[in-house]
Amino acid sequence: MKILLVFAALVAAACSEKLFMGDQVLRVTAGDEGQVTQLRVLGEQAELQVDFWRHPTRPGHPADLRVPFSSLPAVKTFLESNNISYSIMIEDVQELLDEERRTMVKSRRTERSTSTFDFASYHTIDEIYHWMDVLVGDHPNLVSKIQIGQSYENRPLYVLKFSTGGSNRSAIWLDTGIHPREWITQATGIWTANKIAEEYGKDPSVTAILDSMDIFFEIVTNPDGFVFTHSSDRLWRKTRSINAGSPCIGVDPNRNWDAGFGGSGASSDPCSETYHGPYAHSEREVKAIADFILGHGNVKSVISIHSYSQMLLFPYGYKTAPVPNHQEMNELAKKAVSDLAAVYGTKYTYGSIMDTIYAADGIAVDWAYDNGVKYSFTFELRDTGRYGFLLPSTQIIPTATETWPALLDVMVHVLEHPY
């Protein structure tokens, strides 16, 4: 029955395609009986094709009029010249219908298994959290979902754990979406997590890695920010925590770590995009990861995935001194970007953060490195500024596909160089 209703609604929506483009719904309030009469007259003018959703009855009671796009100037002029007050209730009727149709199609999709999840689209937080449960359900002996804490707005911080057993095995940590506007990263994270699950038992490298190590993957690392990019500001970067004494919200979660914290490679202004926060690990989203990694005690690699710029970076950002194993990190980065470029020709630059991009204080990979996690890397995915954060969804699968061999290179290196 549900399927039939959805189908009928889809047919209805499809038939209405483009019929209401640019039409608006105006809420009109007649001030006196004379204006009520004027509205009725307006409705009788056939050529204007005004469609009353709620008829004008009495003064002071609102009437709702759907006005076709081409009649808008005439109708608004009529209302204004007669001093009839109105407001625009629906700016574009077609857009509303399209949105509803999209929602209906989407809600159909969430019921299926991972084999029909649309990896080539950007998803909402609910869709991603639902997909996580489906992934766990599809691979119960490999994947589990753990919660490492809560966000500022009390959303769960979920991490996917890939493990074939053992007890507190050496582990690799991956995160995407710490800067929520970098939508390509969460999308790549979903594809990659699915790939890891699929390839265990098939790909020799993935199998070798998971036979002795665990992988922890946090895909929606900043859920409050991510929701905000959907609901309000697509280009939001920070957390959503309130800053005492400031009208500006949020802390840059990648300047909030205890490594060179508070230096000039971050900002002390709460209104800045790189505000480091009142103190290191002030942000719940950051503290949860730091506590998890320290508590685990056996994490050998942290791979933090960002966009954009097409780079593969390693510490330090807070000082110019190279890391003790700079040569090893440089060689590994060189190999990884070469294998990435081999897929579609996408060129990455690589090097330490200080050398390659800019001074940055309080960043995750520097903290990880200084806490004994030697193989800490930051990816900056596509592109180099043409679309920037607004990367078309058609590039999701190519981006994830080309990044995969680079990620594998790092993970295999970690496996083959235990410490």
Binding site: S70, G351, T356, P392
Partner: protein
């Protein structure tokens, strides 16, 4: 892959400035020139005037992916007055493919609209640009190129993030005029 010298980000920043100016001068609704690659960089040469970079780079036409053009440029960031935009001298190799057909098509399309064009959020959240609005975006890119050039320093790398709003301005002559509100993203300060 080319080995990247440690100061490569400085060459990229300077190339972005030069690309901005070139896009302003040569770009339009039918041609959008963006930086594809920095081939070579030298500098900075430091003297009393400021910091000067010498660059070889490749631009590509957003409207025609296979169309690339090799460029050289000298970019001088002034030391004294930070409000002075960088000096850019550039050369482009060979002839750029003509964009007059695309420009005319855009002109006629806009002229034939019954109401002045209004649009928002280009690209949208999913990176989509409706085909009809591609020339509108390329035109914004050309204008943004000017703004980027004028507002760049050695510590910025500016890109056009999104057109928030574009409104065509009603005119009584044959010119087309557009009012844009654009968002620029600075990679350095975010």
């Amino acid at each position: 892959a080319m080995e990247d010298p440690p100061s490569s980000f400085r060459f990229r920043r300077a190339a972005v400035v030069a690309a901005g100016l070139i896009r302003y001068r040569r770009g339009g609704p039918g041609r959008g020139l963006v930086l594809r690659d920095v081939r070579r960089g030298r500098g900075p040469d430091i003297d009393d005037a400021g910091h000067k970079y010498h660059l070889e780079f490749v631009l590509e036409d957003l409207n025609d992916k296979d169309s690339t053009v090799n460029c050289t440029a000298e970019v001088l960031y002034h030391l004294g007055n930070r409000n002075t935009p960088p000096d850019v001298q550039f050369t482009t190799e060979g002839e750029l493919k003509s964009s007059s057909e695309a420009d005319h098509r855009f002109y006629n399309q806009i002229k034939s609209l019954e109401e002045e064009l209004v649009a928002e959020n280009i690209p949208d959240s999913h990176g989509n640009v409706p085909p009809a609005l591609v020339p509108v975006r390329l035109l914004a890119g050309a204008a943004a190129g000017y703004v980027i050039w004028q507002n760049s320093t050695e510590d910025t790398e500016l890109h056009l993030a999104q057109i928030k709003r574009v409104k065509q301005v009603k005119r009584s002559d044959e010119y087309l005029e557009f009012d844009y509100v654009i968002l620029l993203h600075d990679v350095v300060s975010q």
